[in-house]
Symmetry: C2
Subunit: 407 residues, 2 copies
Amino acid sequence: LFSVKDAKEVKRLIAEYFEGYKMDFQEVPLENSLGRITAKDIFVSEDIPGFDRSTVDGYAVHAKDTFGASEALPAILSLSAEIKVGEDILRELPIGYAAYVPTGGKLPQNADAVVMIEYTDDLGDGFIYMNKSVSAGNNVIYRGDDAKSGDVIIKANTTLKPKDVGALAAAGISSVLVKRRIKAAIISTGDEIAGIEESLSGSKVRDVNSYSINAALLEHSAEPCMYGIVPDSYEKIREVVAHALHDCDLVLISGGSSVGTLDMTCKVIESFGKPGIFVHGIAIKPGKPTIIAKVMGKPVFGLPGHPVSAYFIFKVFVKNVLNVLNGVKEEFESSIKAYTAFNFPSNDGREEYVPVRLERVGSRIIAHPVFAKSGLITTLTTADGYIIISRGDEGVVSGKEVEVIPF
Amino acid sequence: LFSVKDAKEVKRLIAEYFEGYKMDFQEVPLENSLGRITAKDIFVSEDIPGFDRSTVDGYAVHAKDTFGASEALPAILSLSAEIKVGEDILRELPIGYAAYVPTGGKLPQNADAVVMIEYTDDLGDGFIYMNKSVSAGNNVIYRGDDAKSGDVIIKANTTLKPKDVGALAAAGISSVLVKRRIKAAIISTGDEIAGIEESLSGSKVRDVNSYSINAALLEHSAEPCMYGIVPDSYEKIREVVAHALHDCDLVLISGGSSVGTLDMTCKVIESFGKPGIFVHGIAIKPGKPTIIAKVMGKPVFGLPGHPVSAYFIFKVFVKNVLNVLNGVKEEFESSIKAYTAFNFPSNDGREEYVPVRLERVGSRIIAHPVFAKSGLITTLTTADGYIIISRGDEGVVSGKEVEVIPF
């Protein structure tokens, strides 16, 4: 006897049931680490950069030799030998001297600033005329400014982005210890479901969810395992779910939305013992007939059979479970600022997901509704994203600013 | 003799030079089609759904048999045989009869509406009491409502999202003709650049750009080809660029930012003939010393050597080139609404990219600046995204609402 729960409560329960899930680790080469999640803090074992370097093309100097310099009264320094990028300069720069150094070049010993070449004149007389004064540190990155040996460069439980991969390269880290990808089973149930290559007959419909959920899992760096279509038989469904529970971290059962089919999915899930089902019905639209359970320590979803509903349940709750299993925080949600071109009635206490198509009109983006009878996945092809109308909302009035979450 | 161009003009030139680039096609299985770009319009060859189906658990009826029905005065219909999901019903529903049909079930011939089970009573006397009237089409999806045979289900030049993959599955399309992935060469140049596994000595720095750009290319469904590190030699760089031009669609040369290194990259590019370089310097910060050329019909970039600059040039212009080569429109940019916790001075006529770290404070998200000396890639590890201060902006005042683009 379950009561329908709201989205916030469902997420709280997911955290309660699955926080601390143990994921194995694996070592991957840096070039394959995009989107993977770090297993442990990653430390730097060398200073970055390893030497004091110039950030501009110019002249390395002792800053105090330039004090008071101006275009009217330049500081005149003797020209020392030129420094090339990559060259290792061990000698000191004598007081009163300037040495040409390109962007990225190593400063000579004791030099503490660089004057940009734009502020200097070289008349070819062996002297350089500095038209501007600099302070110590100007146009210089000191050894270890970027990171010092022993610093943590990337924390544990970080999803690696290109910038992070770059930082690891800067630290000379060529392989990374990451969490294994989450293996997620997709099981499609129902006598009425036909494979995409079968010829359709009678009242059969295609297996949509196996493919859209497979793609959504790939998009979130999980490893989908398609278990195919299972007929409406308690024994057969139970057998496949048992296999999936053995091989995977997460089981997604996409079933019919009719009462009979739902009942069978519930029976199968409960047959594996405690704690079993802890969510049966969520106050969101579409997607109400959703089941979430903990079976053998793993999350099991009974997804709605309607493809659009199943997709939104994935975006909101399966993604949340993936984050919890991976031990990563939910990211800040990004969206497209748009203005609605429609009125939308207040909902009946359910959080509602409304697909929209976007159109640029002048400097504004206008959101048009893509009304779809539940289950009509092809109407979503014209949608760019969706808006969320929260439980308490009075509905949406035409012209209102809304945040559109892109598909 | 080039003048520095602004971002808008650079994008206009990219479109002018590369629109209509020919990409080969390849057939991929539907389950591997996520993120790929359709080569041609995709047509449906069957009606979806293939039959009239119920969207609820209830009783299929002739709508006119329920006219005027209410709880006080129910319409009384004879019970016909139950219909199961997936069952093919060929017989007609006689006038005055109702047949139980589950969600997704096929309606009997001539039935034109379904009464939800909640609005009916079955007293076990062979009659069903309808407490509500329905109109034709209520709770029914008609054959072809989702898509009709011959309809275009996905247009050419569409980047496939999970919802699109689902729609193709619904149409029984098990493989998709897509454009080949764009092959992008990454060449790192400079005597001072060390591989990530080398031991560092003297004034060497690590090859960061090969890895961050490799990851950024993967994120955008391109196929990166790493050509490694090439020393500062005109002949050697020219040889590698020639190979890359032969094998790839796009060549990214990451070089030093010093004037001397830039000159050499330019000379190499120009040696391949017309039209050659058409952008030399962009009014954005960081990233000004950027070169874009058309060589043998293909785009060639001279990226800034500073990793942070190179990254932003990728996000803004290389991504733009990928879209143009692929023939896809730029997507609506999504962002995170935040409020700045800092003042930022007006820029000097250059579009400026400022990395920020986000923090949730109450119901607001606060953006803190992550100030980095140009080139310090590790400081980006703490950044969640960046804000763009456009050319004309007066700067940013603390507390201002800003759009943060996530990394």
